[in-house]
């Protein structure tokens, strides 16, 4: 746990340094596209002063403290299942996106917040309990109770990505947002721990480093998509965000404005494309084109009559004039989409989603744009299904407001208002090694 603390705190410090400089980049490395947003942080005062309102609170409760000044998307290369597979290819794709975004922003960015969708995320619920030392709960008590949480065996070669305290309880009162300053004797906390594979983060870090950028934070893309596409009520009452990406489908469950569970299904839009490619005997690029133009999951009678030319550019234009009906295409796509959604259902059931007070399900990500998906999803996942689009943020180009960008937008919201994580609280002194120099320094600082 020690090196995790170190690295995460270093990232937090770097993020604060980037905020000071005012420019930070958001990098969403997905399996089908790589998106880069360049954010400028000016502070909410500047915007409100410009409007002449001057009440100090910006629009959207301070979430508009940043502005997107550069945005670029490129086709992803070398990424599968949201994991870096070919380093040099991925590096080139990242360079393309970053360069274009920088060019648009006309400013150089050095700090990057990235998200990753692969790495087989796993969620753990932790709890800890301590006796409050003084009369009221202090920050030190919170640090102690977080440190008291018993870390499960997360397995070899895995690393903690998020560790967020989601609930505090003081004596018999539960559901406290912030127990600091309250009077009580026993402080209990629940924590959500999310781990991913170590090598995935290492690869991502190395790839970004090769682009001369510094990583200022990592977040799960399912978490980021949930931040941007769930509305506040849904986050409060309980909802699941299904981020249907190219290579993987991320699931994040929110309740009381905290992510309480996260998982991913290693299937996505690319699998649908490859099914079409194999089923219709066309090139993957053509299959992708057919999917985006004519795809769907609910066939109607009219779809039998709508013929699609699938003749791919084999160089045999005269002979290769094959056509398929749209109903056939839907017949290929639907089983795969159903499979993905069934898998999601399984994960949600495993997480105990049905026990939440509200069971809203929000479909987002590029895969959610398949026509008729909400109808199909409501059959599999339950009645409360809607399609989600990311929150609107200032300066975002129209082309980047689609549901495919919910992770990128969520990541920018995450950068603006980061949630408290485990490592934001000081480690209590007794957890230090006995002969730590830091401990001596701390003792001096406290007593002199």
């Amino acid at each position: 746990m020690r090196d995790l603390y170190q690295s995460q705190r270093a990232m937090r410090a770097m993020r604060q340094a980037a905020m000071q400089r005012g420019v930070i980049a958001i990098l969403d490395i997905g399996s089908s596209k790589i998106a880069c947003l360049v954010l400028r942080f000016d502070g909410p005062e500047q915007f409100s002063a410009k409007d002449g309102i001057g009440d100090g609170v910006g629009s959207m409760a301070g979430q508009s403290s940043f502005r997107v000044i550069g945005a670029a998307t490129t086709r992803s290369r070398g990424v599968r299942f949201g994991e870096v597979e070919a380093m040099a290819e991925t590096e080139r794709a990242v360079r393309t996106a970053v360069q274009a975004a920088q060019k648009m922003a006309n400013v150089r960015v050095d700090h990057v917040i990235a998200c990753l969708s692969g790495g087989r995320p796993r969620s753990y619920g932790l709890d800890g309990q301590v006796e409050v030392m003084g009369q009221t709960v202090t920050e030190g008590d919170i640090g102690r109770v977080l440190a008291e949480c018993e870390v499960p065996d997360i397995g070899e070669g895995r690393q903690v990505l998020h560790a967020q305290p989601i609930n505090f309880a003081l004596d018999h009162r539960s559901g406290l947002e912030d127990p600091r300053g309250q009077i009580g004797s026993t402080l209990t906390t629940d924590m959500h721990l999310m781990t991913v594979e170590d090598s995935i983060i290492e690869n991502l870090l190395y790839c970004i480093k090769r682009c001369d950028l510094e990583l200022a934070g990592v977040a799960s893309s399912a978490y980021a998509a949930g931040i941007s596409s769930l509305v506040e009520d849904e986050q409060e009452l309980g909802a699941a965000c299904i981020d249907m990406g190219g290579g993987s489908t991320g699931i994040s469950i929110f309740m009381r404005k905290h992510m309480i569970y996260s998982d991913s299904v290693r299937m996505g839009g690319d699998h649908v494309t490859s099914d079409i490619s194999m089923g219709l005997q066309v090139a993957p690029a053509m299959a992708e084109r057919i999917k985006t133009f004519y795809g769907g999951v609910l066939a109607t009678g009219m779809d039998d009559r709508e013929m699609i030319e699938v003749g791919s550019n084999t160089g045999d234009w005269e002979r290769d004039r094959r056509t398929v009906s749209r109903a056939e295409l839907i017949g290929i796509m639907r089983p795969r989409v159903e499979e993905i959604l069934e898998e999601v259902r399984v994960r949600l059931d495993a997480a105990g989603f049905e026990h939440l007070p509200s069971q809203q399900i929000v479909l987002t990500g590029g895969g959610s744009q398949i026509p008729g998906l909400d109808g199909l999803a409501s059959k599999i996942l339950g009645q409360q299904v809607r399609l989600g689009r990311p929150l609107r943020v200032q300066g975002l180009p129209q082309a980047a407001t689609g549901s495919a960008f919910s992770a990128a937008v969520g990541l920018s919201l995450f950068a603006a208002n980061p949630q408290d994580e485990w490592w934001d609280f000081d480690i209590p002194a007794e957890k230090y090694p006995a002969r730590s120099l830091k401990r001596a320094v701390r003792w001096f600082r406290e007593n002199w």
Partner: protein
Amino acid sequence: MRSLKAQRSEGTRRDPAPSRWGYRYQRLMLTPGFRKLVKVGVPLLVVGGLIAGWTAREANRQMIADAYNNTKTQIQQRDEFMVKVMAIDGADDTLAADIRTVLPLEFPQSNFDLDLEEMRQTVAALPAVAEAALRVRPGGILQVNVTQRVPVAVFRAPEGLKLIDSEGVLIQNIIARADRSDLPLITGDGAREALGEGLEIYRVAGPLAPRMRGVVRMGERRWDVILDSGQRILLPTENPVPAFERVVALNQAQDLLERDVAVVDMRHPARPTIRLNEQAVTNLRQINAEQE
């Protein structure tokens, strides 16, 4: 698996990704400090270096200086800036001749070569000039306006006769008293400092004026009036003018100065004294003896 080696031979596959160095170059150019350096510093350096290198040669510097001087001369020698004539206003002929002597200008001359302030001071330094103003009038005329000093008296100095103005400044020499017989004659040490008083004495002379030869400052303290017959009127230090008025009145009433009187001494206001000539004293005694 794709071939790990890059297939350069195809050539048709275009990679949209920037090369590593291209990417670094773009990032470098987006760095504000470096960008400013390149966009401002380097051009400045290049231009400055070129100029410095060119001017490092003596011949080039000389060329610049020559070109500058040529242009300057050409402009200054234009017809519009040439001064051809000097016109003097407010001076009589002798003073005008003097001014032309002290300003030895060779016309035509450029306006830029004339130092008007220095020339003005030269002209103003002439004794006969009270004030001088110089300007170049349109048409190439150097206009000299002078205010001449007006002589108010003739001053007899040990080395000769001079004209003097009301401020006591010596204007010019004259050869004979007869040249300016219209002006009063004043002499003696310190007479220039008390010129006003001397002239006041002349003013109140009235009928005595034609007979006055001059006034003499005695011991830088008081005045003597000399009449044409050699008679002297000694005036007091304090209030000499009323004392002289008394003498004039006395003369009008009793023809005092028609008599054989050598000196009328008014130095003691309460006791005016008369000194007679030797012959008159003798005559007076004789008359007195005859009467007894």
